[in-house]
Symmetry: D4
Subunit: 201 residues, 8 copies
Amino acid sequence: MGMPEVVFGERKTPAQVAGIFKRLAKHGKNVLATRATKEQFTAVKKGVRGVKYEVAAQAIVLRRDRRLYGKGVIAVVSAGTSDIPVAEEAVVTAELMGNQVERIYDVGVAGIHRLLAHQKTLSRARVVIVCAGMEGALPSVVGGLIGAPVIAVPTSVGYGAAFQGLAALLGMMNSCASNVSVVNIDNGFGAGYVASLINRL
Amino acid sequence: MGMPEVVFGERKTPAQVAGIFKRLAKHGKNVLATRATKEQFTAVKKGVRGVKYEVAAQAIVLRRDRRLYGKGVIAVVSAGTSDIPVAEEAVVTAELMGNQVERIYDVGVAGIHRLLAHQKTLSRARVVIVCAGMEGALPSVVGGLIGAPVIAVPTSVGYGAAFQGLAALLGMMNSCASNVSVVNIDNGFGAGYVASLINRL
Amino acid sequence: MGMPEVVFGERKTPAQVAGIFKRLAKHGKNVLATRATKEQFTAVKKGVRGVKYEVAAQAIVLRRDRRLYGKGVIAVVSAGTSDIPVAEEAVVTAELMGNQVERIYDVGVAGIHRLLAHQKTLSRARVVIVCAGMEGALPSVVGGLIGAPVIAVPTSVGYGAAFQGLAALLGMMNSCASNVSVVNIDNGFGAGYVASLINRL
Amino acid sequence: MGMPEVVFGERKTPAQVAGIFKRLAKHGKNVLATRATKEQFTAVKKGVRGVKYEVAAQAIVLRRDRRLYGKGVIAVVSAGTSDIPVAEEAVVTAELMGNQVERIYDVGVAGIHRLLAHQKTLSRARVVIVCAGMEGALPSVVGGLIGAPVIAVPTSVGYGAAFQGLAALLGMMNSCASNVSVVNIDNGFGAGYVASLINRL
Amino acid sequence: MGMPEVVFGERKTPAQVAGIFKRLAKHGKNVLATRATKEQFTAVKKGVRGVKYEVAAQAIVLRRDRRLYGKGVIAVVSAGTSDIPVAEEAVVTAELMGNQVERIYDVGVAGIHRLLAHQKTLSRARVVIVCAGMEGALPSVVGGLIGAPVIAVPTSVGYGAAFQGLAALLGMMNSCASNVSVVNIDNGFGAGYVASLINRL
Amino acid sequence: MGMPEVVFGERKTPAQVAGIFKRLAKHGKNVLATRATKEQFTAVKKGVRGVKYEVAAQAIVLRRDRRLYGKGVIAVVSAGTSDIPVAEEAVVTAELMGNQVERIYDVGVAGIHRLLAHQKTLSRARVVIVCAGMEGALPSVVGGLIGAPVIAVPTSVGYGAAFQGLAALLGMMNSCASNVSVVNIDNGFGAGYVASLINRL
Amino acid sequence: MGMPEVVFGERKTPAQVAGIFKRLAKHGKNVLATRATKEQFTAVKKGVRGVKYEVAAQAIVLRRDRRLYGKGVIAVVSAGTSDIPVAEEAVVTAELMGNQVERIYDVGVAGIHRLLAHQKTLSRARVVIVCAGMEGALPSVVGGLIGAPVIAVPTSVGYGAAFQGLAALLGMMNSCASNVSVVNIDNGFGAGYVASLINRL
Amino acid sequence: MGMPEVVFGERKTPAQVAGIFKRLAKHGKNVLATRATKEQFTAVKKGVRGVKYEVAAQAIVLRRDRRLYGKGVIAVVSAGTSDIPVAEEAVVTAELMGNQVERIYDVGVAGIHRLLAHQKTLSRARVVIVCAGMEGALPSVVGGLIGAPVIAVPTSVGYGAAFQGLAALLGMMNSCASNVSVVNIDNGFGAGYVASLINRL
């Protein structure tokens, strides 16, 4: 109950996304298109009422069921401004699945005191999503500060030896904090989904 | 509450493990030594009463607190017999953290009906841990069968293009099931830990 | 007998493809241009009668010999909708080489029951081609369900840790089903070709 | 019918292999233990009558069913002397599955005329298995000489930039011969198995 | 003596190439611009007389010294039509450095008899350059046919597991022919240069 | 002045190390053998007076010049107990080059408050060396806390996706703190050397 | 004191860069935008007085504080002309942080005498930055010539097996000169920053 | 004429090497066993008269034909002492093939003046072999100093990011000197062989 219908927008034409979205919308559930462009949104809007485009998350959202299914708060933490699109995809997903979400952005590990200022919010969260590119160190630090499960999302942010998120991915897989598990590079949706499942328990 | 003290046994001498274990044992909590050898156990046993060696999990366990902290059952699924040590490390960790655990072993994807025979048990679980080496395909299949969160553990089982678990790791990172998150190769402990946190919610 | 002439269209100009196609067409056999664009087709059409463009497969086809050389049915299975172009390339190749083909599409491992619904068709096939990106798990599952040889085609579908098909390739190389062999990433043609050879035996 | 029971010997104790072998032997079929040591053989021999150790293939074999299931000959080709253990694993597997096998060994591509001398044998084969390490070029050459399906087995033979078979694996995946498909590094068993399935058609 | 001035055209503007070319042309030697576009040629032509654009090699050539410095013939061998630009870069380089060159094109290893038809030409060559992408097997075969030194050039031709020439590079590094050495991926110039040095001895 | 003579002990016999050490000792400077075993020490001791074996650093040390060349303090920080050998190699190197060193050990990022407790010491340091394996996140955090240059040393500590220090190396290369530069995996000596040069300025 | 405010321009719109730059400019410090385009500069210029675009460094610079903080000279060395943008980013950064900088360009290792001609300048430098792509050999040679610390910057210059700077990065990590530490691929800013910190000591 | 018979000793038993060596010795030519142990030598010596063990090269040598086939001198250059075994394998090979060889050892790029001291010897050589591990920079420097062809041999010397010779291999492939070609990691034999062919011209 409360599970959204989802379509992955990348490498689909506006017409394809619009077609799939319309079909999914018939099920009466919330519908989400991730990695969606404005062009795709324009196409979807013509056939489905009430859809909204979330610019920061690059997502098309149709929200019908607004009940809260999550029992606590999901905190979404991100390291740099370039990680925000991924973080926002997680936020949109979690909200659409009926969760209260708190954003803690721009708290990269090179400025640890900015992160520590949010410790109270972090401690109150039932699940925490952490998005970071480059060295991907943030989930370990967050994981050490709290007892709740942490879902880490490596992002493709960075250049050179970042290798499109590989450095962050490997970093997170090797996290020295025991409460961290990891989803695919840039997979904000997956993180939001897993966190939502956990928050319903 | 109910969090164990933990020591990683690999590349430590029996004397080192015994020393650390004894010190940790003073805190009055459950104590766990992972990747531990029989020699390390023999050394630990001399200084600490009530310790047990879990052969299959290669773990030394001191269990004092036997309360149940987990609210449901954690299912631990493994693909082949060679994955069992990793799976058992997850089992031992989860049990020591106060969870009821059900084992579903030897259900690799090439014999999908063996897995399907356990569908009821899987559906009852509140969290599922899935350990698999080689192509690492099992978490996707399990993830598709149930609605609960799945913690995937790639194992270093395999040869040739398995590249010590890299193939399984990449496979699991790309899982087409949205409820899957991943821990490090052979990290049964981490999976058991994360699953325990989730099961307490 | 019944072997087509083949040209690989990628990175060739329409004029180049048209020139080669025309030359090959003189041999009187079936001719196939893979990875071909509509522009290439337009150029080919001017010089060769009876050619057809297969949109889904991105292939230009000249079919003269319509005899059946294959002794049974080749099933072509694909995981997600994005894998279909590769699957269709296999279909077109197999058909042009004189085989009966059955498509089983959109049966990714995260929805195993959709695949199981086709078990009868699969069991009747003499050879099975399985196309999958992301974790590349489908060939193992299919391989376990049937006794026939399985040709696995990793596709470059996915993002992040999919690494343009590397994850799927490694997964398939490590398949725990013994009846699986693998061709190059996105090589639908190769799979169709090998399957056709086998089906003639 | 005629499918053997198989156990993978690597990293198992003699006692474990002996136990599994004995259990499998009860089914009345042919039994094969691959990657088996002499110590494992000694242990198996105590509990099962009629077993044989194939030194070159590092395999323990129990052959009861000696019928021919394959309709033609399977040729097993190998590049250098170091590739022979993998080739022999393929031979033993194919023979145990009821096939006639012809060996064509020591025909690496740097001495192309040695290979060409066997062209007649190659052309008579219904399926060809080609084992090669280092640059893994042999399957392409063999594939170009014949019309039958070729199963390529990269071996971990080589040093330096061979990277334990990775160079050969990549080479074979990119074969310019269309009749080649590939199994895992050193997977002689898999090649023998797939070839046997094909030869029964 | 007879060494050309060289400029690498890639990622330079027409103006930059024209400027450098003009400056180099003042030394009175042959001048070569590799990886050059027609636009760069147009710009060069305005300031330097007698330059020529070699389309197939993507090179701008100013030839003043037409003496032969090489003592024998350099054979340039290539596998597929897509390898020709790299091969032609080698040809242009070698010719500009005063060598007689013989082209042996389109002799990939999957059609070994096409290569064998050129054995006489190959045997007469004092040095042989071999360009091949995909599995990069051709240098080993050529190396085995002759006694002369072979300079192997991996090309970035291929797709999927070719990984932009990495597969061919690794294959050539592991060549089982002892007379093979290797230059960088697509480095036709380097091969032509080294071969020219050898041919002068 | 004050630069030590250095020999790298790994893969050398005790006799080789003893021979080189003795020869270097004749120059009258401090002498250091890194990656040295007790056996090598025993051999060195026989020929050179006053040598000492630093167990934790696995180093043989001959200290004659005890002057201070460094103008401030070098802090050596390490994440886990397994990183200590690398950290100690840095310490021994820096001390032998005439520096005051302060150790800050066991301050991994998953327990950030342990690190923050040392902030005063860190701020006083003129250069800081940070050794960490696994995710290699510590240099970024330390780098953000201070204004001094940070020399990061990835260690090969970890398992699975740590890939012998590759994960830590990539993490450190992508550090979001601008004052971080990196030396080779496990290269405590290099870090101590660079830090000493900086501290002399 | 004298630390600039910095914004990373890549993948930001002109409006975004202009907004951030304007905000940072209010702090009264020097401001630097790296990886900045002319379009971004045009946008910035409208809102901030006195900014300058450094074409070669692709940087937007606002210099207010012109004091010298560095105690000696920083030498910036680069191998080829394609490495100059990275070198210039280092120069601009170092100058903006109050350092005297000397450029030593176009001194790649294949023309070692060109480098040796600058030995005096190199020896006078208090810190040396070395930028090189392709094989990344220059830092080792420079490191061997001088006693000062060397900051090595691998650049993404090269093709084929250069793998976007990976070859240079690995080369520099393995430098046989002990005074070398390394920053990320193309990270001229980081090198300038670290060198500035060292030069203030 | 003057081509030796060769056997690769690695992973062969003393009996196997002795058997092959004896058989090859019957051809009357020079015989060489590379990567050979003393145990293998002891076995060979029993069956073949006049064999010698070259400790530094780890080679067993039977020299009958002592004529000079090479027209000039081959210089063999190596960077560090650990590279000497590979260099010596090249020396032994070249000598056995009838060449005059000059060794220039211990001239790593971090001490460039040691190398420059040998410039005259280098310039006199007709071909130069350069062996180097770690960053593999030496061939570029040597290549720039001379006009003769350079055969580069990456060695597996180094640790950490050296990745068993991969760093050196990539470095050499990207050499900025145009006269460099490369053989496999640790392949001293191949380098000696190619150099000998060139020196005969």
